[in-house]
């Protein structure tokens, strides 16, 4: 709690993945990856297409099971078998464009699958609306009504709704999969603001992206994957955008 050291080493580990291996048929998608996220840390997970970023995240969010390796959450060994299990631990994944139902209202989206009920399973609409607005405001997003449909929102606001949902359900770790892709410059900046707000709330973030210009200012640390291998794990102060770029495009050094 009292630790604010810049190197981050003394901060508490939130999630730790050790020697994760994943095969898809004959394809070795993850080759013994070690990956750690500390409390209230923003980690930029970068790499080219097919580097294994999504696979690694899907193992963490319970979508895929690792073939080998261990996962520790808050120091305890866990076996994340489903996305439901991951969410119960406090790991929320915000998939781009997949997270929301466009023709449903904001509050119905935020509470989708976890609706507060009064009796006989009937939804508590009032508390849904109130809590939705509260969650949106906590990440600095001010929308007119919890009844607005998602289709009416801009791309940035949509990401905001998905992030607010994670926040409301007391996520400890929010995984953002390409949150700024297909967004305008202004909307992307809005999403980067949400990420800062998450960090201020003490929530850890994994930010997956191609766009180093988006991730660089937001992240504390960068993990670079290339063809299923981790080739770099660097603090921001020890690197630059150009260095990271070189790391991503450099062919992996086998042997």
């Amino acid at each position: 709690m009292s630790s604010f050291s810049t190197d981050g080493k003394s901060e508490k580990s939130l999630v730790k993945m050790v020697s994760i291996e994943k095969w898809f048929g004959k394809v070795h998608a993850l080759e013994g990856i070690d990956f750690e996220v500390r409390c209230s840390e923003v980690v930029g997970l970068v790499g080219d297409n097919g580097a294994g970023k999504s696979t690694l995240i899907k193992v963490l969010s319970g979508y895929h099971l690792a073939d080998k390796g261990e996962i520790y959450f808050e120091g305890k060994k866990v076996n994340i078998a489903s996305s439901l299990h991951a969410r119960k631990l406090g790991i929320e994944t915000v998939y781009q464009e997949q997270a929301l139902a466009p023709n449903l209202s904001i509050s119905r989206n935020i509470f989708m699958g976890r609706e507060p009920v009064r009796s006989l399973g009937f939804m508590d609409k009032k508390s849904m609306d109130r809590e939705s607005m509260k969650a949106l405001q906590s990440i600095g997003l001010h929308l007119r009504s919890p009844d607005a449909l998602i289709t009416m929102l801009s791309g940035g606001e949509r990401q905001g709704v998905a992030i607010a949902r994670a926040l409301h359900f007391k996520a400890k770790l929010v995984i953002l999969d390409e949150p700024t892709i297909a967004l305008s410059v202004r909307e992307a900046r809005q999403v980067l603001e949400f990420i800062k707000q998450l960090k201020r709330e003490g929530i850890s973030v994994i930010f997956i992206t191609h766009n180093l210009y988006h991730v660089f200012p937001s992240a504390d640390r960068f993990v670079v994957l290339t063809r299923g291998e981790k080739i770099a794990d660097i603090q921001k102060k020890d690197t630059s955008i150009d260095d990271l770029f070189e790391l991503i495009v450099k062919p992996p050094s086998h042997n």
Partner: protein, 343 residues
């Protein structure tokens, strides 16, 4: 001095009333089901005047209220299933197969209440089958239910040899009276049943968490699944609701006409889909409201009956159906665009 403020005051008043009117118009047209409501009112007025008031005569209304709900009850369930993103082409066949089960149980002399419950269970089972085949084998429901449509109709034909069979409702007067009695000698019980089912499904779809799951499943299945909703189960339950409603209508219809006919429910499957579309339900799922589906489900029987009252050849029915479907979808698209512009 005097006329000046007076004039001013009048102007303000005028503007206020205009504001109120425009707000009402905006609210009305902003509502999803307004277009179908207008189509319905238009049809009723048209039929009333052009049939020289035969359409609005008491005997005709009595017939319409007793007969119409049979189709409309099933259409309610089909609408909800469509919101979840699936179709059911087998409703007419589930209906006739359940009719056959019910008449067999009646002939065996079983207590009719028990027979009714067994028939409902059979309907639920047929719906469950549609749901399981569709969700577990990843077959589009259009294909699954096309298959079961032919299967159950064929089974009913083989088992009944195509003959009609008599049903005597007087054996259990209490049973038939709760299904088909006229309340106060006027309002048929069928209308009450339709209203009750409409109310229950309205509450479930719009206020129950299951309703939210139905919308989420139809709107974005991947998102719903990522949020922990068992979309396969949601769809299967919707199929089962349709099956139960078909079985209920099977019992209702046999009690009303006192006969089993192997042609019961023939052609209802596409009409039920048409009713939902007219009521503003999207063919892709995720969009639709129970009010719209309710209004859509009464449009179809009204058109059928109205054309009879106009003494127009029955062959015209399909032309009118076609026009009404296209017009109501066009008008709802127009209203949606208008709403988006104004917002």
């Amino acid at each position: 001095m005097r006329p000046f403020p007076n004039k001013n005051g009048q102007k303000v008043k005028q503007r206020l009333s205009r504001d109120w009117k425009s707000r009402f118009v905006k609210l009305f047209f902003g509502y999803q089901s307004s277009s179908i409501f207008l189509v319905l009112i238009g049809l009723i007025l048209l039929f009333t005047f052009f049939s020289k008031y035969r359409f609005s005569s008491v005997p005709n209304i009595k017939v319409l209220l007793a007969l119409g709900p049979e189709f409309s009850i099933i259409a309610l369930g089909v609408g909800m299933l469509m919101v979840s993103g699936e179709f059911d082409l087998s409703v007419g066949s589930i209906l006739v197969f359940c009719s056959f089960i019910f008449i067999k149980l009646f002939e065996a002399g079983i207590n009719l209440f028990l027979a009714g419950f067994i028939t409902l269970a059979a309907g639920a089972l047929l719906g469950l089958l549609n749901g399981l085949i569709t969700t577990k084998a990843h077959i589009p429901s259009f294909i699954t239910t096309l298959g079961t449509m032919m299967l159950w109709r064929g089974m009913a034909l083989i088992l009944s040899q195509g003959f009609t069979r008599p049903f005597n409702p007087e054996v259990f007067p209490f049973f038939s009276s709760i299904l088909t009695a006229r309340i106060g000698g006027v309002v048929p019980a069928q209308v009450i049943w339709f209203g009750v089912f409409g109310l229950i499904l309205w509450m479930v779809l719009h206020f129950h968490k299951f309703g939210n799951w139905v919308y989420a499943t139809g709107d974005n299945k991947e998102a719903a699944r990522a949020m922990g909703i068992n979309t396969d189960r949601v769809k299967t339950i919707c199929f089962m609701i349709v099956g139960i409603l078909c079985a209920f209508v099977a019992v209702l219809q046999i009690t009303r006409v006192s006969t089993f006919s192997s042609r019961a429910g023939d052609g209802w499957e596409l009409r039920a889909i048409a009713a939902s579309v007219v009521g503003g339900t999207s063919l892709m799922g995720g969009i639709g409201s129970m009010v719209g589906i309710f209004l859509g489900s009464i449009t179809i029987p009204i058109i059928e009956n109205g054309l009879v009252m106009l003494r127009i050849s029955y062959f015209w029915t399909y032309i009118i159906f076609g026009l009404v479907i296209i017009l109501s979808v066009l008008s709802s698209i127009y209203l949606k665009r208008r709403k988006l512009r104004h917002d």
